[in-house]
């Protein structure tokens, strides 16, 4: 009985939530009457800059201006997806977020949605109308806002901050103008010219974080050299199978396609999803090259080179297979797999496979200097947007980005006195202390969550600032980035609200159908002779309409 009643709950719950219009206790901003005693010189605005010379820093130093907002007694509620690898750690436990509050004199109240349910809880929060002051997009990035940021501005959820940034966030503004390459600056604005989010800014293109990873000890022992062509890979996997006893040498991503980097299929000059060729948007899985890809995967699957159960593997299973020698190759993140393989083997990077030796792949995972994950936006519920903007500006001041990236000087890091220059701007180099690197209470992946901020509203030095990136992984990620070009990549385009709704409808049907078909083709339950029929079906499902939406979004992006 009870079980049956429970089963009916989800639909009911949905209605209940929407009808009653209130659920989560999203706190509202309070005007705490008592100013903080002492008000320890809340160094809010830009500060004395040590290494002068760069225009960015000078402009910020001049901003001690009359229309400065006071942060005294300001409370801001921040909705932010938290993630952790080891121990559970919330933002309020994080030393940097504590320090930011102390230095600015602002009080931040964090709300964390349940892990894995960020999108659902976000949707419910929006429907309920109980908005926090600030929303962080989490790993979902811009896709959290389905229909695009402009729609959320039009619907009175988020506010446009162009003017506020001009006035109260000079450091963010100058970081965009000076740190970011000219052609990437438009990523900070929407199609209608709104500036909505505070993106993390990378001083350079961060290295790709996904790739084909091989067991280095096996590759070295086999002495077959570095694989380059598809044939090389095939022979290598056969050697894994025959000489190393790997039951299933390669673990394919669960969908049968590497949706992140397009590994293997990029050999046929297509992308795993939408990509553009000379300004014309195309959809990879309906191209003739995709049939070639499926044919090869089907062959490998038949030869037992691909894990039989790949559609149902989760990370735990992959980890077990990689560490026990059941498999020797996987398409995944070098950081994650590198951590798995500690004590087993180092990783070797697989080059982007090509058809003919000497070819170069034209599609790969590209990260932009504007980093949408964990971007921060201000909502219409925020009573003091000036203060919110000023708080968010802090990560782009010198003091702020040192704090976010490395923690507190003297405790988690010390300056080495050296500097590194990107795009004409000098940045100080640091050395982490043992508290960060060898903390008995916090293994390194936990230390990242407590002593620094991994990604958020600041200038982010991933390569120098991520203490978890060991040399082996850094080398791999660098090679993954340099190993292919990005001529086929799509820029960060946005669909309009109307397009977005129809697009979602089309893509829902398309991907449901495509996912099944791709797995069937690879596993041989559907003959590849039917590929043309599959393309026909995809067209019936109006894939071309989705392509045209992407095309117009692409055109709008180019016209920004």
């Amino acid at each position: 009985m009870k079980a049956k009643a429970l089963r009916r709950l989800p639909c009911l719950g949905l209605c209940a939530v929407l009808a009653m219009g209130s659920l989560a206790g999203c706190g509202k901003q309070e005007d705490a009457g008592t100013p903080k005693a002492g008000a320890d010189e809340a160094e809010n605005s830009a500060d004395e800059v040590q290494d002068s010379g760069s225009e960015e820093q000078q402009s910020s130093a001049e901003e001690e201006k009359p229309d400065d907002v006071s942060m005294e007694g300001v409370e801001l509620t921040v909705w932010a997806p938290a993630y952790w690898v080891g121990q559970k750690m919330e933002y309020k436990d994080n030393e940097v977020w504590q320090e930011v509050q102390k230095r600015l004199g602002v009080k931040l109240n964090f709300i964390h949605p349940a892990i894995g349910q960020e999108q659902e809880q976000f949707n419910i929060m929006i429907s309920s109308g109980e908005l926090p002051d600030i929303i962080s997009a989490g790993w979902m990035g811009d896709s959290l806002y389905s229909g695009g940021l402009d729609k959320f501005v039009d619907d009175n959820v988020l506010i446009r901050v162009n003017e506020l940034v001009d006035q109260y966030a000079p450091d963010y503004k100058s970081a965009i103008e000076n740190v970011v390459e000219k052609e990437e600056q438009k990523e900070f604005y929407t199609d209608s010219g709104n500036m909505v989010q505070f993106y993390a800014i990378s001083p350079y293109e961060e290295w790709a974080y996904n790739g084909l990873l091989l067991r280095k000890d096996w590759v070295d022992e086999l002495g077959m050299g570095e694989p380059e062509t598809l044939e090389d890979y095939e022979n290598l996997f056969i050697a894994f199978q025959e000489q190393k006893g790997a039951k299933s040498p390669l673990i394919l991503p669960a969908g049968g396609i590497d949706g992140t980097s397009g590994f293997i299929l990029s050999a046929w000059d297509i992308g795993p999803s939408f990509y553009q060729e000379n300004g014309v948007v195309k959809y990879g899985p309906i191209q003739p090259g995709f049939k070639e890809y499926l044919t090869l995967m089907n062959k490998w699957y038949g030869m037992g080179l691909i894990d039989k159960d790949f559609p149902t593997r989760d990370d735990d299973a992959c980890k077990r297979m990689m560490t026990t020698g059941e498999s020797g190759a996987i398409i995944h993140s070098p950081d994650t797999v590198g951590a798995w393989m500690e004590g087993v083997s180092e990783l070797a990077i697989g080059k982007y496979p090509v058809r003919n030796s000497g070819d170069r792949v034209q599609y790969r995972l590209k990260t932009y200097q504007a980093r949408p994950p964990y971007a921060f936006a201000i909502t219409t519920a925020c009573k003091n947007p000036e203060a919110a903007v000023k708080f968010l500006n802090y990560g782009y001041t010198q003091e702020g980005y040192m704090l976010y990236n490395y923690g507190i000087e003297g405790e988690t890091y010390n300056l080495t006195g050296e500097t590194v220059t990107y795009n004409g701007i000098e940045y100080p180099m640091i050395e982490y202390t043992d508290r960060m690197l060898n903390n008995p209470d916090y293994p390194i992946l936990d230390a990242i969550q407590v002593f620094k901020v991994h990604i958020g509203p600041f200038i982010r030095f991933e390569h120098e600032g991520n203490p978890a990136m060991n040399m082996n992984n850094a080398e791999i990620r660098q090679k993954l980035t340099e190993g292919a070009d990005t001529t086929l990549d799509m820029p960060m385009v946005t669909l309009t609200a109307e397009e977005g709704q129809d697009y979602a409808k089309v893509m829902n049907q398309v991907s449901t159908y495509q996912e099944t078909a791709v797995l069937q083709f690879i596993m041989g339950t559907r003959s590849l002779d039917e590929f043309d029929a599959y393309v026909e079906d995809m067209k019936q499902l109006e894939i071309e309409k989705a392509i045209s939406y992407q095309q117009s979004a692409y055109d709008r992006y180019q016209a920004r």
Partner: protein, 301 residues
């Protein structure tokens, strides 16, 4: 009339007072949300609310009927329930009858605790176990291998999804669902058993002529209620167990509503599909109730 009610309330104050929370529960969680059904006919935008969203008419419904997955969703939802009723419905009854025949108190208690247990295991954990059991190198694969069969991943075979779903449902719920039957059995007058014993009935005959007839009204009511859910499958288990290879036989209305509604934020459409689903359920409930009243004099209302 009103006066009579007022008198009644005065007389049985405490009873009415006890009913208040239950009534409130139904009003707040069952009746008030019904207003939200309006979304089924709207181009619902969360940011504009029910009053600000524009009216669409029945477009969500026609969209759903024209959806390429429509027949597949209907078929899967219906069949999963039919299998579950055929195989799963008798199980708690059989269990209750068996438990009733047990005499050893400790043994009986132990068995009962053991069979209730799966009901309390979190769905995610339970489905994780099922996934492991069904993997190529899982327990079942191992047993298959020892009989010389080629082990394979059972959850990648569309033909096996429904059997796995139904059988594991029994594992999960049969014990728990047997409670109501055990309660009903214990309510049967023991004099009937004594009389039957005096008339020379053995165990089997007593079960057949005393226990089952005594249990019959409960079974009928439970059956009607179950039929009322003929188009309902909880989405959690389906979503945790299916993969693109088994969409064909595993995708049901609720998992589809989950993908379209919650994940994509298309609430209007999801509500429309949910409403349609409830309507079918209601028709079945009403039909079975009528049929049952005609045939057995047992009915819900």
């Amino acid at each position: 009339m009103l006066k009579k009610i007022a008198q009644d309330i005065k007389k049985y104050k405490s009873v009415y007072l006890m009913a208040v929370p239950v009534l409130l529960f139904y009003i707040i969680f069952c009746y008030v949300p019904m207003a939200g059904l309006v979304m089924a006919f709207q181009d619902f935008r969360p940011t504009q609310g029910i009053f600000g969203s524009s009216f669409l008419g029945i477009r969500h419904f026609t969209d759903f009927f024209k959806d390429m997955n429509f027949t597949r969703l209907m078929r899967n939802t219906f069949l999963l329930n039919v299998y579950d009723i055929i195989v799963g419905f008798p199980m708690p009854i059989i269990l209750a009858l068996l438990l009733n025949e047990l005499r050893g108190k400790f043994f009986k208690g132990g068995v009962q605790t053991a069979i209730y247990m799966p009901n309390f295991i979190s769905m995610v954990v339970l489905c994780g176990m099922i996934l492991d059991f069904c993997a190529t190198e899982g327990v079942i694969g191992g047993i298959m291998a020892s009989f010389g069969a080629e082990p394979r991943n059972l959850l990648q075979d569309p033909a096996l999804f429904k059997p796995i779903f139904v059988v594991t449902n029994i594992w999960q719920y049969a014990g728990w669902n047997s409670i109501i039957y055990i309660a009903a059995i214990s309510g049967i007058n023991t004099e009937l058993y004594d009389a039957a014993y005096a008339d020379g009935c053995g165990r089997w005959k007593r079960l057949w002529h005393v226990t089952l007839p005594g249990l019959f009204p409960t079974i009928v009511i439970m059956f009607i209620l179950r039929i009322g859910n003929i188009m309902t499958v909880g989405f959690e288990k389906v979503i945790l167990l299916y993969n693109p290879l088994t969409y064909e036989t595993a995708d049901v209305i609720s998992s589809y509503v989950y993908r379209r509604g919650i994940y994509e934020g298309n609430y209007g459409y999801a509500t429309a599909v949910g409403l349609f689903n409830s309507l079918i359920n209601f028709v079945f409930l009403w039909g079975t109730n009528r049929l049952s009243r005609k045939l057995t004099d047992q009915s819900l209302w």
